[in-house]
């Protein structure tokens, strides 16, 4: 039974620690969300980042669609 007590200690201590840690993180992040925006100019936002490879594929596929759409539009307009 001694080992069950050990498990219980671990349960209480472990949950306590993880809660403590993440609660502190919440606290710090709440603080940070007030402080950091003042320094946003240091690192200006870029356009949303894309994964090169995925992009390529998507764009390529999109291209097909785009081309179709664009041509359809062009033709329609031309008529």
């Amino acid at each position: 039974m001694a080992i069950l007590m050990q498990g219980l200690v671990l349960l209480v201590a472990g949950m306590g620690i993880v809660f403590l840690f993440l609660a502190l993180l919440v606290y710090v992040m709440n603080g940070a969300s007030r402080v950091i925006p003042r320094f946003n100019h240091i690192l200006p936002d870029e356009e949303p980042k894309k994964k090169p490879r995925a992009v390529t594929k998507t764009v390529v596929h999109d291209d097909g669609a785009l081309v179709a759409v664009a041509i359809a539009a062009a033709v329609a307009r031309a008529r």
Binding site: Q6, G7, L10, G14, M15, L20, L22, L25, M29, P52
Partner: protein, 470 residues
């Protein structure tokens, strides 16, 4: 034509098995002459017969485990790894155990390939298990070292090297975590920090399973034996995070690595089946319809500061979690810094993580040996893993309801279940269950908050458990 082949094959097979029948399994070094130069053809013929005595067919009938396990072996450093008696459940011959494992691994491959259960990991794990259970194939053997000269006379199997290189040292999970970090967007968590508490609550499943493992061990007497290390490793299944589970288990209870990794990845794949009933049970229909405030946009500066903040906090409070959390945050920092280091984040989340995934999967599979998997413990692990997921889900939902009582801005308790990690599956489940109650209420982005905080949470728990149980 077919007849020709068949008769030819039959004839050869007959000769072959006839040869095998009257062949004593060759005693290593007994009749081998000093050099091959002097050997005569009869000896070669004996070796050919020996080949017939070491087919897999015969191997699957072998009674004893491989010699290096039973008698131990020497490492090139001169250290001796002691052998131990190898027992398969029910006193089955070792070879039969291996045959059963082959069937089980084929089942894992079925789950991975046909059912789509986390195929990126379960396919290599299943395949590695398949290889590891093929008798006489030697893919998991350590190198043979000469006792006198200490020189390696025969190299080890490739799964042995993969395991020693990347799992025994803990490097592979760390490298995977870099890639995970480079693929994870912590934005939803930064926009709504308090959802981190849901990620904390969902770790409850870990500790319940840990406690459950100890109870099970006590209750079943000699049938199932788990010490604190084993219990902690089993509990971490509830973290719903593969690399974390592998990292901790490889350090605390490497003999359970196969079972625990299989359980962790299987249940992660089963999240859409396991979670919804629990969520519906614990969250009343009314609360399932709660619409959450839209997340504020998060600036690049905040996203860049976040990984450093988490790392510093982790360093200040829980140094033992620094390796895992640090790797995660390195990957994330590279991701958020953007174009300047896109080479690094792209590599972490593609070439590096893919290579490591293959090697890690095979290495983990190499621990699916029958004496480690075919026993009551594994059933216990599978059961406790389910318990862990269920309690994690439940704790997340309950925490969501509790927070809802205290918070100004409403929280939909369904996103609590996402706190178990299993990114992004669990978040999608939250979203799906939410949509069932209100088809216009999209919870996905809100659920990503607890989801990613769950990754941090379970890494933290892994660090704590490592320190307390090692």
């Amino acid at each position: 034509m077919k007849h020709t082949i068949l008769s030819c094959a039959a004839a050869l097979a007959l000769t072959f098995s006839a040869a095998a029948a009257n062949t004593p399994v060759p005693v290593e070094g007994a009749e081998a002459p000093a050099t091959t130069q002097k050997a005569d053809w009869k000896e070669t013929l004996t070796k050919v017969r020996g080949l017939a005595a070491t087919t897999g067919i015969r191997g699957f009938m072998e009674k004893d485990g491989p010699e290096y396990l039973v008698k131990g072996y020497l490492m090139p450093t001169g250290a001796r790894v002691e052998g131990h008696p190898v027992k398969v459940i029910g006193g089955l011959p070792y070879g039969v155990g291996q045959a059963l494992m082959v069937v089980i691994c084929l089942g894992l491959l079925y789950l991975a390939i046909v059912k789509g259960f986390e195929p990126l990991l379960l396919l290599p794990i299943g395949f590695g298990g398949l290889l590891a259970n093929m008798p006489y194939s030697g893919v998991t053997n350590p190198p043979v070292v000469d006792a006198v000269t200490k020189l390696v006379t025969e190299p080890g199997g490739f799964l042995y090297y993969f395991f020693e290189f990347g799992v025994a040292t803990g490097l592979f999970p760390i490298m995977i975590f870099m890639g995970v970090g480079a693929m994870t967007d912590f934005g939803p968590l930064i926009a709504n920090p308090r959802t981190a508490l849901l990620g904390a609550a969902a770790q409850f499943g870990i500790f319940i399973a840990l406690f459950g493992a100890l109870c099970l061990s006590e209750a079943t007497g000699d049938l199932i034996k788990f010490g604190l290390k084993e219990a902690a490793s089993i509990g971490i299944i509830g973290g719903a995070d593969g690399p974390t589970a592998i990292w901790l288990t490889s350090k605390l209870a490497p003999h359970l690595l196969g079972a625990i990794a299989v359980a962790a990845y299987s249940y992660m794949a089963l999240v859409p089946i396991i979670q919804p009933p629990i969520m519906k049970l614990l969250v009343p229909e009314r609360e399932r319809k709660i619409v959450m405030k839209q997340l504020r946009p998060v600036s690049k500066m905040e996203k860049v500061c976040f990984p450093l903040t988490v790392l510093l906090l982790c360093s200040l409070l829980l140094p033992s979690a620094v390796p895992l959390v640090g790797a995660l945050m390195l990957g994330n920092l590279c991701r958020e810094v953007g174009p300047n280091v896109a080479r690094l984040s792209d590599t972490m989340s593609n070439a590096l993580i893919n290579i490591v995934t293959i090697l890690l999967g095979l290495s983990v599979g190499s621990k699916l040996a029958c004496e480690k998997f075919l026993n009551a413990e594994t059933l216990g692990i599978l059961a406790l893993g389910l318990v862990a997921f269920a309690f994690g889900t439940a704790a997340g939902c309950v925490m969501g309801r509790v927070m809802n009582k205290f918070c100004k801005d409403p929280i939909n308790p369904l996103i609590g279940s996402a706190g178990v990690s299993a990114v992004p599956m669990a978040a999608r489940v939250s979203n799906k269950v939410g949509l069932e109650s209100d088809p216009t209420n999209f919870l996905l982005m809100h659920a990503m908050g607890p989801n990613v905080s769950g990754v941090i949470g379970s890494a933290v728990v892994a660090g704590v458990l490592y320190t307390l149980c090692k």
